[in-house]
Symmetry: C2
Subunit: 159 residues, 2 copies
């Protein structure tokens, strides 16, 4: 297999990244490659690029974007004031799974977090992603927490 | 009961916040009110205050800090580029639990997230915190994700 290259995402990668997010049993319910939605993805991409604590990364194989992830550094008081890293939106193209690319990609991100001085890396994965749960366990992650989400709409103020 | 006041934390609240983090069955294993550790908490506090996407909040009752939480806004590509909010280190003083203070405090934070344009609020809570899990479910949060953590040490590079 050609060696994968891990690097920061650039603007030209955006269509491929959104394609990866949409090409997914769960993600396809909420993502779209509709051109009308493109501006909102571009806005988010620019916000991530401007924020020194946020970064998007891709894995490139034979010149093609084959995976993506977001890395967020979060200053925190708990754990004696140690920064933590959050891994988000980790995706590998479906036809390239099972070849160890995701494993090397996550290790690349964990190394970035360590080099930045983070004391821990955390992530959540949908309970339906059983393969992902096994994958993170084999990388040494501990399934210690329950992950809760609350979707917000403009009309559901509750106070 | 005197009305709780919800507000941004200031530097003078820091000792009380660290006290809340340490006064906890799980937190007491990792937090310390040892004066030598104070500088690392102060550094984290300053980093949070300087970051426009991070903020610490307290609930004050009769002039006393009775609870704390951290709110982080995270620009994200998924969910069509909508920002999400992360709730972290939510604590209410043990002797003041069960009075609805935490419920109002979390709703205050959710309202801040909504006003900032976030499309969702997410959090993780230790699987051992059964009361917390029930609490977030009654606030409308869905327990949809598994939360994984990897602690980082300086000597455990794996690539």
């Amino acid at each position: 297999m050609d060696q994968p290259v891990f690097r920061l995402a650039v603007a030209d990668d955006l269509d491929a990244i959104v394609g990866l997010l949409a090409d997914d049993a769960i993600g396809s319910q909420r993502e779209t490659i509709n051109p009308k939605a493109k501006r909102s993805y571009e806005t988010a991409f620019e916000a991530i690029q401007k924020d020194p604590r946020n970064s998007l990364h891709v894995v490139v194989i034979r010149g093609r974007v084959a995976g993506c992830l977001q890395l967020t550094f979060m200053p925190c008081l708990s754990n004696r004031g140690g920064d933590r890293a959050i891994l988000e939106s980790v995706r590998i193209a479906s036809e390239l799974r099972g070849q160890g690319i995701g494993r090397r990609f996550v290790r690349y991100a964990v190394d970035l977090a360590r080099e930045a001085g983070c004391v821990q890396v955390q992530l959540t994965t949908d309970k339906r992603r059983v393969d992902a749960q096994r994958f993170y366990a084999t990388l040494g992650f501990t399934r210690s927490h329950e992950g809760f989400k609350l979707m917000l709409g403009p009309d559901d103020r509750h106070t």
